[in-house]
Subunit: 339 residues, 6 copies
């Protein structure tokens, strides 16, 4: 398979068990995750030679984050070790009409304080086929933005395909700050993933519809995608289409546009086990699909099936293999026991 590289932050995730609230917790479930780390794990699960690039402290919490990646076969040799903090996010799982809650405590993490020249970009991208990043890393700090930019430049220098998940985070920056950084980065991007909110807040494209109502305006998306493709020359513009019925049940599908035609995927109705990392599993499925499938439609169906399955799996990582995704993408969602 292919060498693929992702760059970003991996955090310690602390969540009360089951559906408990923060104030009820006597213990926290511990997993490690973060947008681009999640993508790397998925790609390793599909058989790719996946590298995750970041910086982590040498202490045991940093080591545990490294171990969580190694366990699933991600190559961690380009993770720089040093700094003080592993970023944290606290997660409370919602249920029914009670939403999930995230409290971030990620300031001054090792990667947020890292410098671009700590990374050996040529070694990282040598023989690589794909590079993926998200809008989170440039948002965590000025250094994060610079690291992302240097990675993009190096990737392009090595002829690597670049994808981005726009992933706007309002706790990290304002739309103005986001656009100042992200628009510049788009020149390196081949595949742009982001929903209408991301498109508006990080790139300035005005969507229609009102996502809090769970309605999705297909025509509005198509118009925005055409504009995005035109302005930045993306090979593909892609979005997931989430219908939030409640914290327990979501509708899930996606849309891809290759500059020529739009393809809407099949829609899944999901009973949610763990919604976090759903978008990342979609990005990973899409990368795998675009690397291995003949059409954008087949790539998208793989991505949507992969990410639908993610919603049924605890933790940030999507622990499914290619065959499981294919089975669902080909239509067997009956859930019958496999003996």
């Amino acid at each position: 398979m292919s060498k693929v590289v992702t760059l970003g932050e991996i955090m310690l995730r602390l969540s009360p068990s089951d559906k408990n609230r923060f104030v009820q917790a006597d213990s926290f479930d511990v997993v490690y995750g973060g947008g681009e780390a999640n993508v790397a794990v998925s790609l390793a699960n599909y058989g790719h030679n996946a590298y995750f690039v970041s910086k982590l402290p040498k202490h045991e919490i940093g080591q545990s984050a490294v171990n969580s990646l190694r366990k699933f076969g991600v190559n961690t040799e380009f993770i720089v070790r040093g700094g003080e903090r592993v970023g944290i996010y606290y997660l409370e799982h919602g249920a029914s009409m009670r939403p999930s809650k995230v409290i971030y405590d990620r300031a001054d993490s090792a990667i947020a304080l890292a410098k671009a020249d700590e990374f050996d970009w040529d070694a990282i991208f040598q023989d690589a086929k794909w590079f993926h990043f998200s809008g989170i890393t440039p948002a965590i700090s000025k250094q994060g933005a610079e690291i992302t930019k240097q990675a993009c430049i190096a990737a392009k220098k090595h002829g690597v395909t670049v994808s981005v998940d726009l992933n706007y985070r309002k706790k990290l920056w304002t739309p103005e700050q986001a656009q100042a950084v992200m628009k510049d980065l788009m020149q390196y991007v081949d595949v742009c993933i982001g929903n209408e909110e991301d498109a508006e807040l990080t790139l300035g494209f005005k969507p229609g519809g009102d996502v809090t109502k769970g309605e999705l305006d297909h025509k509005g998306y198509e118009r925005i995608f055409e504009q995005m493709q035109k302005e930045f020359g993306f090979k593909y513009v892609v979005t997931t289409l989430r219908e939030s019925h409640s914290a327990s049940d979501n509708g899930w599908s996606a849309l891809i546009y290759n500059g020529n035609e739009f393809y809407y995927s099949k829609k899944y109705e999901i009973r949610i086990v763990d919604r976090v990392g759903g978008g990342d599993s979609f990005s990973a499925g899409l990368i795998h699909g675009l690397l291995t499938k003949p059409t954008q439609g087949e790539a998208l169906e793989f991505a949507v099936a992969a990410s639908a399955l993610k919603h049924t799996i605890f933790g940030d990582y999507n622990l499914v293999d290619e065959k499981e995704v294919e089975t669902l993408a080909k239509g067997d969602g009956s859930g019958r026991v496999q003996r």
Copy 2:
């Protein structure tokens, strides 16, 4: 905010984890709760100066019950300490068509054997704005009935608004016994909460409909409410309207009548995490609503949203704050992750 007082029994609740049956349990989850204690916790969560009045043994099980209240800011200074037992109820969580089960072991608890003169009623109700009790406390023993009566008399003497949750418990008394005690107490009550079953069994009003079928006869309710209002002069008569589709899914709404007009709330379809305390969270939401909202309709919508959220939270207590309830009451039940 306001000083509010509730009076009653707080019990040790023992439940097998998850959906396990009693005969499968190697451990019991431990929480403390009881109708009026649950109301006090909710009111403390909304910012009120909430007092729970009861009697509890000095030993560590009694202390743990006190601690569970203090943890959430309930004032426990009027809980008399002494006696031998903390009442117990065993709870088995149902699922789908398998109902939840409760086994009571509450006889001869400290509060059931307490005497009315152990409480300093004047201190308790000084400067209070609201007093809430339920039909359970007068049912647990003759002393319980006398304590409740003395509390009502003192509340009225101090100009406190009084609410009751009729809450008929067939294991504790017969309809005849209930009516003998409860009809007399209604003279002190301003706000009467109870479903048609309660209205019939504790006050003698004959409802229509058949609640085991999940059908609710609106007209029947309205007729009964008019009679109740007429006979006892209640300022408000209120009921929740539960539609038990299964142990996992319920419809949930409510009705209020101010002697002038009926208001039916929005209906929620709930995936249930823990159904116990749903009615108590409604009472608390209603008290808060009536204390702070301009109309009975807004008060009721707050109460219904609050209690819908309760069904998604483990334990007897409704661990939500005012803002969370308002968000749902205003219409956002999409369950999207809050970051």
Copy 3:
């Protein structure tokens, strides 16, 4: 009640907690179960004098399997002790569109290597009313097939009614092997339970419909049942009708045929807690129903209600009593709390 005998393998079941995947497990939940053992536990729960016949090692894992049966009142005196292994199956609980997975590790278990003459068949069937076996035991080994045959012969000698759950397991044998053994055993069978897949693979009857689509062809079933009844002279031919909407939600009903008329049961829509043992709980409910009810329809409704409840209970065993089943069979599936 009646002495009933079941024969087969009881295995150690190892499953990650909640909805976790195998690769996430730091511990496995431990229960013991197996088709015929599950039937025995149900029958003991309904008050019968239930015997489970098998062979288990003397070591503590074997003892734990025995204890799991004794705990629920199954008579274990005819379990031969010896051999090396307790068969194992690993179970991963699915969710939504992700199916449950079973990995078997059952080769060379004590019962698979046991010999027919280790069992005292006359003592086992003395005064018995019913004998139940499944298509699994003859499949696990040649010895297993011989043991099953000797049990059938002895049962018939003692005038015992015999039921079979065809239960084809493709990991254990081919259709050709299955038919070679199973067709011969049918001469002893009074009540034959099996879905269309079982009927085709173990007895050679060609079904219609495509069960992976969740569609069920009633007419096709009826034609097959008539053929089966004709060829083997069964008193009853029975099948469950599962509609697999997903790993979380199933439709569940059943069909019985007494050679004269077909009876379709009520259908339940189930939120699944643990699907394993659903078929076994149905067999047990049917045996109890046929032993105690006046009509095939009432027997079937008991069986379907019993097995619907099983889906809400963790583990292989159906831990419900007769009264709970009757309550559901008579129509109260409202799930209201029973106090």
Copy 4:
């Protein structure tokens, strides 16, 4: 082996996990146990046909107590079913200099309110070889005392050997009350087990030494034993000799007197896992020893080894078999891994 009968109360034991204090508990570990039930389980583990006689409610908590006994092979057919409560004791495990704590909540349990004529004494003692009771059952209520007396009379009528564990409980009665009842019961007793505190408080023999200091006055014990043997004609008088270094470490040995000579056992130094039931496991080991060993010394060594092992096992029951006890009694306490 022999039919042996024990009579008494089995309680629900609720304990915080590990070394947690009551006020820290979010869950309680659940086991069932009680002096005579514990003896019955041990005797079943040694291969005897052990019957436990008591009364338990029909509800699921009562059933769980029955199941806990059946699981380990105790015959429960003479447990009368009815009444309301299963007695409870809360247990907090101590550590180092912090003592374990027990809070009893056992008043008005089913057995405490049972009547002697609810039991079929002739069936119970038919063909029995041994009957064991303790000083707890006569202490729980007048009915308990009467039940115990009727059991003793019936046992003697059937020629059954009778043993008692004096087991004084100061929360249940005064020394005066105890002596009024217990002295009368001693006429039926062949084997009397009790430490110096028990001997003083229930039978009025004045011991020397001060057990809170962990010192044990051997001479004092011998004098008391001689008096006890003389007054009541016991075949054996027996006591354990506990040296409480701390809640974590105890010295453990025993003394037996057959009216002729004294035998002191080997002493074990124990790291304690769970101290509760230590005395009961001793009684059971002694009964087994006296039933099967040629000398009082060998019987006592079996009893002491058995009960030393109990201290390393969680719960009230001593889950060891005869061979494990023999191995230790014969001197291998090296704790080397057994593969």
Copy 5:
């Protein structure tokens, strides 16, 4: 009892369960604690009106810290709410020769960034009898040092007795920095608690002995104490004397000096459950002792017994009451079950 005030930081403590290492953790046990918060909880447990003063974020993690204090009766009304972070420390429990490990992640916590004028010092110290702080708070930031100084000034203005636990933390400052701040603060201190390492690093007194060897040089301590008392005019100089045999076993005693005579306490040999908070529980015991006992010796024995018990209790807080401490201080460490 007395109004007592402590000031400092309360942190979220995250620890792998049992004796697991960080890299093995799939969950972290969650408690809240910190030197001065721990002191406040102990004092509340002894019946004092204990106030903890700090700053905590409004979010649920901050609220959980508040709740952990309220649960045990600490008054939290003077905790300022605001800021972003709750400081964290990761704790790995050691065993035998493997030491416990702490990883701090406490920079930029709400209290570290708070300002002295956010606190209403007059209200805080009105009617107070005692103020306790430690060398940690002045070390966490310049603001922390200023807050501590303002608190000391206000305490003295209100005639409050002041105690300090020197508690040098090498991760927070250098000895030079520590001495620059701490020597100045000593002018307000009446009771100074600290071991020889603290005395050297924060106050510049050179100790003898080598604590890593577990040897304690009594004469050296006495000389240092005399110097400290002379230089700063302390009423009492106090230290614990820990002998670290291993992570599982410690010797534990203490020394007090009132400027006149030295008193050495009894020594305890402890099997450790949780060593963290041992020093804080000693400080609290000493404060209670000095407030209520006639002699420094009795005060010290209370403090040592209290803190010995702490080592047997999970978490930072010492969850024992006055009576339990007195029982041990008076000599009953036998650990016999208390029924």
Copy 6:
């Protein structure tokens, strides 16, 4: 560091939690381990490029075993994937005088049925510095013996140092069978590790002493070592010296002989958390020591300190790094908290 290779079986280990017995288990703790896998993990933890060679099924249980190694940095590229079973061992943790118990269920595992030509021995040993195997792999099957032999031949061909842990397992073969295979393999061995029991049973050297008594005959060891060295030409002969005081406490030291002089290590007294893998951690420490230390004495002290620490860590793997071992080997076993 060095490329090191180990070869053997990795098994699924299933153990009741804490000190529970098998018959009490409702769940099993899950770890993976096996003699040579454990050695590989240790060597990876010390910074070596460690390879574990084996065969494992492709299913999720096999994958989980692979993941457990990758997590700690072991290179798994030479693990052949295929076969049906992962070998299992059930482990019950002992306490005090109750020994730990192991029940093996490892027959017909993937590696036991593997063939020598499935492995690419040249690639495996290219550039390797050390090869370690144990007496278990040749014992599991004829194929296992052949695989071991081929590995030894290839190792020698590549100039790799070879160590063996004799590790006699009486459940797998007789002394005669063992000697027939093992004596032949000794020709490839440079470093021979084994206690007197191993030396006798696998190589035929008659030891003195009686290890069940915890006595160790130093002189006897020295005589055997001299004979072993003479007969097989080992560079080093090494043994651990375990003194089993109980399942909770062991004395632990070791002896090494380089053909010239004997060196006895320091002795540790250990409070045991998990004894399994103690010998493997010793082998790994020894390999690291011999690869990096100037003298056999320093190598041995590292090995003994490393394995002493292992006894304090749950699971088969020794999760300590080089620095932690050095700290202990240099004498700091005080267990003081490391902040």
